[in-house]
């Protein structure tokens, strides 16, 4: 894919990283406001799509580090399964960190939120979905490049 004109590239520069911040806000506040892990992860994955459309394929493949997205995906899945297995003497998936509402209002909050594993699983699933969907976009773009060669340096959309 060829890069688009200077107007589109400047617009992309201005607010590409705000997408990541917005998605992270929706992931972290999943306990209190509507949202949660899956929705926030899908928003963070659109960061890579915006860069791909505005800057072209060659520059993106030279810049993007696949190891980061792989690490996010594997870390999120492992934390999710670990939190599931840790409540094992009682049952699978037991919320062993939850504090009932009367005690939480009386003694104040600590580092771990009083809803226990719900908030921690939110962050883990958000990381996993963000890494997974970004990897899907990158893999499908590499598949397009495999069987078609064209010029990657000129801009597209000009009148010839």
């Amino acid at each position: 894919m060829r890069p688009l004109s200077i107007v589109v590239r400047t617009g992309c520069d201005l607010f590409a990283w705000f997408l990541v911040i917005f998605g992270s806000t929706i992931i972290i506040h999943g306990d209190v406001t509507p949202g949660g892990g899956f929705q926030g992860g899908a928003i963070v994955a659109t960061f890579l799509s915006l860069l791909l459309v505005a800057y072209g394929g060659k520059k993106l493949l030279a810049w993007a580090n696949i190891g980061i997205f792989n690490g996010m995906l594997v870390f999120g899945l492992l934390v999710f399964f670990l939190l599931g297995f840790m409540g094992f003497p009682h049952s699978f998936f037991f919320n062993f960190l939850a504090v009932p509402h009367e005690i939480a209002q009386a003694t104040g909050h600590g580092v771990i939120p009083p809803s226990g594993t719900i908030a921690l699983m939110d962050i883990a699933v958000g990381l996993e979905v963000a890494g997974g969907l970004s990897l899907i976009v990158l893999s499908m773009f590499k598949g397009v490049r495999l069987f078609r060669e064209e010029h990657f340096e000129e801009e597209s959309g000009h009148d010839r």
């Binding site: 406001t33 949660g36 995906l73 919320n95 719900i118 699933v125 997974g132 899907i136 495999l146």
Partner: protein, 90 residues
């Protein structure tokens, strides 16, 4: 001749589908829902989470979330395996 059969069949299909989705229940009146009343009444006290939907997805019905994470991971593995560059045989 074929076109009239298609149009009549499409209208019949349309009547069936719209009649089916229209006659499930009245909009805004789901009847008795004892499971959801239990979730609404007890999610704040026992789990101390203010978002009832999130506590259903991750705590009361966590198995569905595990299945969904598995489906996402399987689709990712399949797509990455399709678009691999092969090695040149010597």
């Amino acid at each position: 001749m074929k076109k009239t059969i298609f149009v009549v069949a499409a209208i019949l299909l349309g009547a069936f589908v719209i009649g089916a989705t229209d006659s499930v229940q009245l909009f805004g009146d789901p009847g008795k829902a004892p499971m959801d009343d239990y979730f609404i009444a007890n999610a704040l006290q026992h789990r101390s989470s203010e978002n009832v939907v999130t506590s259903i997805v991750f705590d009361y019905r966590g198995f569905d979330t595990i299945g969904e994470a598995a489906v996402l991971f399987t689709a990712l593995c399949a797509i990455t395996a399709f678009f691999r560059e092969g090695r040149k045989r010597p």
